[in-house]
Subunit: 351 residues, 2 copies
DNA sequence: GTGAAAGCGCTAACAT
DNA sequence: ATGTTAGCGCTTTCAC
């Protein structure tokens, strides 16, 4: 189908040889008269010629094709933005993107990788749908780049979200609003996701920098779901009144939604009674909560771009650089306010 | 990168000609001794040979490559399932998938199509992220198939959700639970999305079949968002008590979430006071609502499979068939119960 | 300035 | 039962 018309047809119509056509159409700096150039271009246009990329790829040994392998996009609603970022830079640079979602099945991963190699892709991106360390297929080529993941044992260029800075931004924002007792509604997984640890690191750093005591009772955990957030919040609300937080920083927006539910069911108003901040800026949840949730956005689009740029060699990268940390912007909406007047700060704290 | 080793290397190592290698590796029914076959296979394995798909594609004029163009996956959280369906059948049949998301930009669509043709894809899928009539690019090849969309002017094989049946299933379920006054919280767009009209058609059909009067006051509209659902519900609650619905069927889950919010703020319990049913079975919303939302699922995965199967010629299809209607299963969760005892049925109705 | 010819890696007639 | 050869559509030296 498609390009039935070949370079030979163009040559015939323009009354020149196929090499001339090739030279002209590829703008080679050979001295071919402007006159013939024009004739060739016209002929190509007339018969609707467009070069067969497969033949070009075979000859040039460059297919202008890029592979993106991910563990799971189907089950991850916001993953699309990584793809969109990758796509945009691919398109702008004349590349087409092979996409495969492996469902994290090692066998499928390996098979997909072979297929892509067989298809002679010029570049490869190996993506995870949430920030984690991966154990890549053994046949992962050297030129691959990691997107939203990394590997210590099999290092490649890599981008991940700057989770520490994200945690810092969220908590600093709360501190700036006047909060002194800030809870962290964390995810309860073993081992904990990298993001959980790093966001908590940001939380701790801000406490330290602001000389705020850290109360272990304010670090609660639950499943990474609406219900997990709800249950974790119950623990917080079970604390004696003066030990309760005035603000809650959540591992993610889903849990934040659960925090909302728990708070509501106890008659607390958000943000006048308690402030809450999420993480992920997840579509269809963060902005649709009541009130709209202040949260930290995961830079999926930007990471997708970055990975593709280095994969394509547009962005310089020395293979041994540590993972690139992409900033996570704070998205301020309406779930944060100053603590209620007269709210407890912390036992013996400096108000 | 990749397959540096060619068929010639295998031939040399096995001490045969390259044609023999080709014959063997492609399992051609030519009589080559089992002995040499084995030798060739061994040689190939030894040096890690895998055929160059680009060269194969050029020669066979079949690339085992499939293009999927969509208007927008990045902004549509549940779209991934269509991709997943497409992917699965592609992989099972040895095809690789080129994916491009055009953001519904006509110029990009056209360009993407040309690129795919230039890449000599064997099949093409043109997908929309919500059920609608599209005006496809002028260069859409005849062999393309529509996924979750269709075109009257430029028909091709097409799959769309069976929205009428979905609307019927939802409303019948409500009727079976004992409801007689059922509202439809519709989307307020002009022109209305096809899905909106068809789901309403299902709603009406069930009313007719059950000899239930249709009260126009119960057909309210709002923006296709959480807030739109909330506002539409306010209209319902502003009705005189005995004219209010005992159940609400929503255009989609997002609006259903808004219905929950409005109901709650007026002190109604779901489902004991009012039942609600959504549409879409949207990830991270339907199942995470309190109580979990009974809804009608959009068969994204199945549609993705169907489209790919006909695109690949695995599933027979006569080009002129009307759009294939894919069933939308009812997902029953906990948002439906019988109406409260003594609830109004309808003025003059048969209870 | 332009054309002839070799060859990218593979398949498929056609020989033998 | 296996090898030779002619391309698939294109790019790129090298001649003229």
């Amino acid at each position: 189908m498609g390009a039935r018309v070949t370079i030979a047809d163009v040559a015939a119509r323009a009354g020149v040889s196929i090499s001339t056509v090739s030279l002209v159409l590829n703008n080679k700096p050979t001295r071919i008269s402007e006159e013939t150039r024009e004739r060739v271009r016209q002929a190509a246009q007339d018969i609707g010629y467009s070069p067969n990329k497969v033949a070009q790829g075979l000859r040039r040994r460059l297919t202008h094709t890029l592979g993106l392998i991910s563990d799971s996009i189907a089950t991850t609603p916001y993953a699309g933005q990584m793809l969109a970022g990758a796509q945009d830079v691919a398109r702008e640079n004349g590349y087409m993107l092979f996409f495969v979602d492996t469902g994290a099945d090692a066998e499928i991963e390996e098979q997909a990788l072979s297929q892509m190699q067989a298809q002679q892709v010029d570049a490869l991106i190996f993506a995870a749908m949430w920030h984690r360390e991966v154990t890549p297929p053994t046949n992962l080529p050297n030129k691959a780049v990691y997107l939203d993941c990394f590997s210590q044992t099999s290092p490649r260029p890599s981008v991940v979200p700057d989770e520490i800075a994200g945690g810092r931004a969220a908590v600093q924002y709360l501190v700036n609003a006047g909060h002194r007792r800030i809870a962290y509604v964390d995810v309860d997984e073993n081992p904990p996701p990298i993001a959980s640890k790093l966001r908590h690191r940001g939380y701790l750093a801000i406490h330290e920098e602001n000389h705020l005591p850290v109360d272990p009772a304010l670090h609660v955990k639950g499943a990474s779901t609406h219900d997990g957030g709800r249950q974790a919040t119950e623990k917080l609300l079970a604390l004696p009144k003066e030990e309760r937080p005035t603000a809650i920083f959540c591992f993610n927006d889903r849990m934040a939604a659960g925090v909302y539910t728990a708070l509501r069911s106890h008659g607390f108003e958000i943000p006048s009674d308690l402030s809450v901040v999420g993480y992920d800026d997840q579509q269809l949840v963060a902005a649709e909560l009541y009130p709209p949730l202040t949260t930290v956005a995961l830079p999926h689009y930007e990471m997708g771009k970055w990975a593709t740029e280095v994969a394509l060699g547009i962005r310089p990268h020395s293979g041994t650089d540590p993972p690139h940390l992409m900033p996570c912007p704070l998205i301020t909406r309406e779930s944060v306010a100053p603590p209620p007047v007269g709210a407890p700060t912390h036992p013996g704290g400096e108000a």
